[in-house]
């Protein structure tokens, strides 16, 4: 049995379809990444999973329980790290964690013990009396993650956990998330950071316009969609554009065009012949990364207009 089972999930906001029919299974102990541009439907999907947004159509089950029917039981075993800081500014660091534990009916002594342990885990123990407004952005994010561990959740859901963090904090967060995973927690991660996705995730789903358009391990996604090399080129002459493109097609090369730049995806053993190379100015060649796959799948133009 899977920890998260999503069947035909749809979410509409008026005439806008945020999630357009998603089927997805996330296994126990997995770190699963949701990748997608802004407005792809990641947050809407996650909000439905966490029971704070009604499901338009379809069904979502977490740990065998229906999200619509048993939201309290599901939320009791869930840790949520929001993208936006919603720490309680009226309380200090330690009080934030102890008060949060009370929402889960955790007795005070145990709440304090867990709070101290989680502060230690995220290297915040020296800040337990600090006001929230005195914390840096990185400390706030660490505290948000520490807070989400209060109820020792089976499933930890993180929405862009390292956005805006310095590299040191980012790597600290990644290490901690990895060790949580080795301890058996299941992680669902929304991210736009490709390094994060490849570093942490066992499997990734790429979302675009409310749908999952690709789903596999990071390595497989790169192999499947990135080929073996990516060539970033410009045309020597715009007049021969059609000719170049038809030649590319002839040689069954895949490409993507963005303004005056062509991105050519070379598969295993595919080489461009001299005629073709003569027409091109090579700007850059590199081994494909997850970012290339992402841009190939979701397009290079701006998604939000």
């Amino acid at each position: 049995m899977f920890l998260i089972e999503i069947r035909g999930a749809v979410k509409r906001f008026g005439s806008i379809i945020a999630v357009a029919g998603v089927d997805l299974d996330v296994g126990h102990g997995e770190c699963f990444g949701l990748l997608g541009p802004n407005g792809a439907g990641k947050t809407s999907l996650v909000r439905m999973i966490t029971g704070v947004s009604p499901i338009g159509e379809g069904s979502i089950r977490v740990d065998g329980k229906d999200v619509t029917e048993e939201p309290r039981q599901i939320k009791a075993n869930l840790g949520v790290v929001p993208q936006e800081d919603n720490l309680d500014p009226d309380l200090n660091v330690l009080e934030n964690l102890v008060t949060f534990a009370r929402y889960f009916d955790i007795p005070r002594a145990e709440a304090k013990r867990r709070a101290m342990a989680n502060l230690q885990l995220f290297e915040l123990q020296d800040r337990q009396r600090a006001k929230i407004e005195e914390l840096s952005g990185g400390m706030k994010r660490r505290l948000l993650i520490a807070r989400a561990l209060t109820n020792q959740p089976k499933l930890l859901i993180l929405d862009e956990p390292t956005v805006g963090l310095d590299p040191q904090t980012k790597h600290l967060v990644w290490r901690k998330l990895r060790s949580l995973k080795t301890q058996g927690a299941t992680l669902l991660l929304c991210t736009q950071n490709m390094d994060e996705a490849s570093f942490l995730c066992d499997r990734l789903a790429v979302m675009n316009e409310g749908r999952i358009i690709a789903l596999d391990s990071p390595q497989e996604l790169i192999k499947k969609y990135g080929g073996s090399q990516i060539m970033e080129v410009r045309l020597r002459s715009d007049e021969r554009r059609d000719l170049v493109l038809s030649k590319l097609s002839e040689q069954s090369l895949q490409w993507q065009e963005m303004e005056d730049t062509l991105y050519i995806f070379q598969g295993d053993g595919q080489v461009l012949d001299q005629d073709l190379l003569g027409e091109l100015v090579i700007m850059n060649q590199h081994v494909p990364t997850l970012e290339d796959v992402f841009l190939k799948l979701t397009g290079r133009s701006l998604k939000e207009q």
Binding site: F13, R47, T50, V52, S53, P54, P71, R72, Q73, K75, A76, L78, V80, P82, E84, D85, N86, L87, D88, P89, D90, L91, E95, T99, F100, R102, Y103, F104, D105, N151
Partner: protein, 253 residues
């Protein structure tokens, strides 16, 4: 309505914050009611003659309890709740736990109610110190403040659930709360108003509260218009569920 004992968790959170910041809250508790008692009771009161030789300060003291019970609940569940909901995102963090939106709304209302009770107790002590409490019946101020708090918190949270911006609360205070403060049986009997206003004042939420507070503080509960309890309970019966419903509509997207 889907609220449970868990709404107590929200109440506890607000209580902790209140007692943490009590130094900034307490002066308001004491200063304003004392100021009004002095200015209106002793100052203006010198020129006011009432029936049966009642002093003016005796007339307004129970009304002040009612009015400040109203203010406490109203401020808590308008500005206080709105800031927690919209700016601090406190509700967002709480509904990610086993608490429901109804738990949050009910907890806010119960805390607003508690603020009314606290305020009423403090003012009761103050007016007792002025020698204005005449019988143990005055202890009924506490349950009356609880009912008034529940009513005003429910109405206030309903308003909070529908306002677009924090500035909209100006309307709530200038068109609803302040008129009741001045015309709702606090400073003079409602029956001195022109007939049309008497009818309006008669069903305004503050009027029965002030009237009943006066009857118990002056030690003559028999003179109170106790049917007014029906008005108070009626407002609670409408606005408590309505505020929960509208809050859910606002937050559940």
């Amino acid at each position: 309505m889907n609220f449970s004992y868990r709404s107590l968790r929200v109440w506890q959170r607000n209580r902790d914050v209140f007692f943490k910041l009590w130094r900034s809250e307490v002066p308001g508790f004491f200063a304003e009611p004392i100021l009004i008692l002095l200015a209106m009771g002793f100052g203006l009161g010198t020129y006011v003659a009432l029936d049966e030789g009642q002093r003016y300060i005796e007339f307004i003291a129970p009304g002040i309890i009612a009015a400040y019970a109203m203010f406490s609940a109203s401020f808590e569940c308008t500005y206080g709740s709105f800031i927690r909901m919209k700016y601090q995102k406190t509700y967002d963090s709480i509904i990610a736990t086993p608490l429901s939106i109804d738990d949050v709304s009910a907890g806010e209302i119960f805390w607003g109610t508690t603020r009314s009770i606290l305020t009423a107790c403090v003012i009761l002590v103050i007016i007792a110190a002025f020698g204005l409490v005449e019988s143990p019946w005055a202890l009924l101020v506490i349950p009356l403040a609880a009912l008034a708090g529940l009513m005003f918190s429910s109405i206030a949270l309903f308003f909070t659930s529908v306002v677009p911006a924090i500035y909209s609360f100006n309307y709530y205070y200038t068109l609803f709360i302040t008129p009741m403060f001045f015309l709702g049986d606090v400073f003079f009997p409602v029956d001195t108003l022109p007939p049309v206003f008497q009818h309006i004042a008669g069903i305004a939420p503050l009027t029965p509260v002030a009237n009943l507070m006066r009857s118990v503080v002056t030690g003559s509960p028999g003179e109170g218009a106790w049917w007014g309890l029906g008005v108070i309970v009626g407002y609670i019966a409408v606005f408590f569920p309505l505020s929960l419903l509208m809050m859910k509509r606002r937050l559940l997207r």
